[in-house]
Amino acid sequence: MLKHLIAELVLSARVLLRQPGFWVPTILFPAMLYSFFGAQMADGPAGIYALASFAVYAVLGVGFYQFGVSVAQDRETPFVLWQHTLPGALWLGWAARIVVAMGVVLAAVAMVLLAGRFVGGIVPDGPETARLIAACALVSVPAVLMGIALGSAASARAAVPLSNLLFLPLAYLGGLWVPPVALPESVEALSVWTPTRAMGELAWAAVDGRALPGRYLVVLAGWSLLSVAVIGLAQSRHRRAMFG
């Protein structure tokens, strides 16, 4: 089983990392956007919140693009059918994807932290950095689930535009680009129910050293459950179509 898992990890990593179309937007863009906008808009004490916001934005990108797009595209290729004829547990392929996603999340967050240090002049101390990385690992669970839900429900052709359509507005609505206090009142009312706001709140609490806000944990749990339901329905529909 270990040999199989390693083979899946290596395959997943090669496929993703040999696609600049994947790793440029997911690993480099968040740090670039932070450098161009986040670091300029927020300095002083607010700077670390902007850094945390863009770290969450990086996590969201991995979920939407690694899973949202690739799950939809892979599902429609004969390669997946051929993989089903090989021995070994199929869930190991998913496990490998998630492990590789965690690696990509770490790389993307590390790039944002480096941009914070060299462009924004924001250097979180050791405990702040550790808490922020832990928060990013936590929010990667709903981000990945949302991405898989999107990739399961959308066709390969629709997955990229749909990801873009959801990713950017959600980042804005969640206050990842503009602090929530600066959002218009009507947008702020909507913002508190978005997954991105909940992810941001967890990251901001983490760098502050505050307890994670229960309300937003509940919001994220709700989005995660909704995603699991969509995944269940969509995957069962595809299984019937392909293997039924």
Partner: protein, 287 residues
């Protein structure tokens, strides 16, 4: 002895359409079975039941005694799907290593490179591979887990004639060494070159099954082909575009004797066993 494939009463329905309707199938180790049928006959659905990609609605199918789709069944089997596509970022060598790891084996890459002519391709990423090159990789992957059964769905589509001949030779060697092959193909000559036994399905049902030798023995028909100088007797069929007349007969000697007795002037006489596709067409018609 355990059968490589033992299928009994297989049924598969899609809504109101019965794609496979009560098909029995047996394949022994060391045997190659050709699965024939027109487009839409149910061949691919039948293969998906054998490979365990789809569950049956009725009937059972086992691979060396293991239920189709089980891990043990998949371990015993190598598959070349009808349409093959692989991630363009990956090289054949990496894919072979991946497939071998799934089988829990070390990749025997050098043997596969030689067998499938992958020397120039093995370390190139697959983006830009031609259809024939992808097909060669797909064939190599079917054999890389040292399977006891190879399920090959139109394996030589897109291959040049040299690659087709190499594939036929390799498959015959594989069968001679005890491997079992289930093959679908639209190339009659390939079926004839590789398979010992044929099963024909049409509209989801098995309409013919037997060894090629049995079918020939049943038919005992030769094709007499010749060019006749005018006037030709009425009992000979009309000539084709090349001016040749073709006659199927169970007694070709009697045909030639009659021509001589009637003083018919003819030349370029050819007498040969009926081609597989003609035998099958006749048997299918009789069935």
């Amino acid at each position: 002895m355990l059968q490589a494939i033992e299928a009994k009463g297989l049924v598969k329905r899609f809504g109101g359409v019965t794609a496979v309707d009560g098909v029995d199938l047996q394949l022994a180790p060391g045997e190659a079975l050709g699965l024939l049928g027109p487009n839409g006959a149910g061949k691919s659905t039948l293969l998906s039941l054998v490979t365990g990609l789809r569950p049956t609605d009725a009937g059972t199918v086992t691979i060396f005694g293991h239920p189709a789709g089980s891990d043990a069944a998949r371990r015993a089997m190598g598959v070349t799907p009808q349409s093959a596509a692989f991630p363009p970022q990956i090289t054949p060598r990496e894919l072979i290593a991946y497939a071998a790891a799934r089988h829990g084996m070390r990749p025997d890459t050098d043997r596969l490179i030689a067998a499938f002519g992958l020397q120039r391709l093995i370390d190139r990423r697959m983006a830009g591979f031609s259809g024939g090159e992808v097909r060669r990789v797909a064939l190599a992957l079917a054999f890389c887990g040292a399977p006891k059964l190879a399920v090959l769905d139109e394996p030589t589509t897109g291959l040049d004639s040299a690659s087709q001949e190499a594939f036929q030779s390799l498959t015959r060697d594989y069968v001679a060494s005890g491997g079992a092959v289930l093959l679908t193909s639209h190339h009659w000559d390939e079926i004839e070159a590789v398979c010992d036994r044929l099963t024909m399905i049409d509209r989801g049902q098995r309409v013919l099954d037997g060894t090629l030798a049995e079918m020939r023995a049943t038919m005992r028909i030769n094709q007499v082909s010749l060019v006749v100088d005018d006037p030709a007797p009425d009992w000979l069929p009309a000539p084709d575009a090349d001016g040749r007349r073709h006659l199927d007969s169970a007694d070709s000697d009697a045909v030639v004797t009659r021509l001589v007795r009637e003083g018919v002037a003819f030349h370029d006489l050819l007498i040969r066993p009926l081609a597989l596709k003609d035998i099958l067409a006749t048997l299918r018609h009789e069935a």
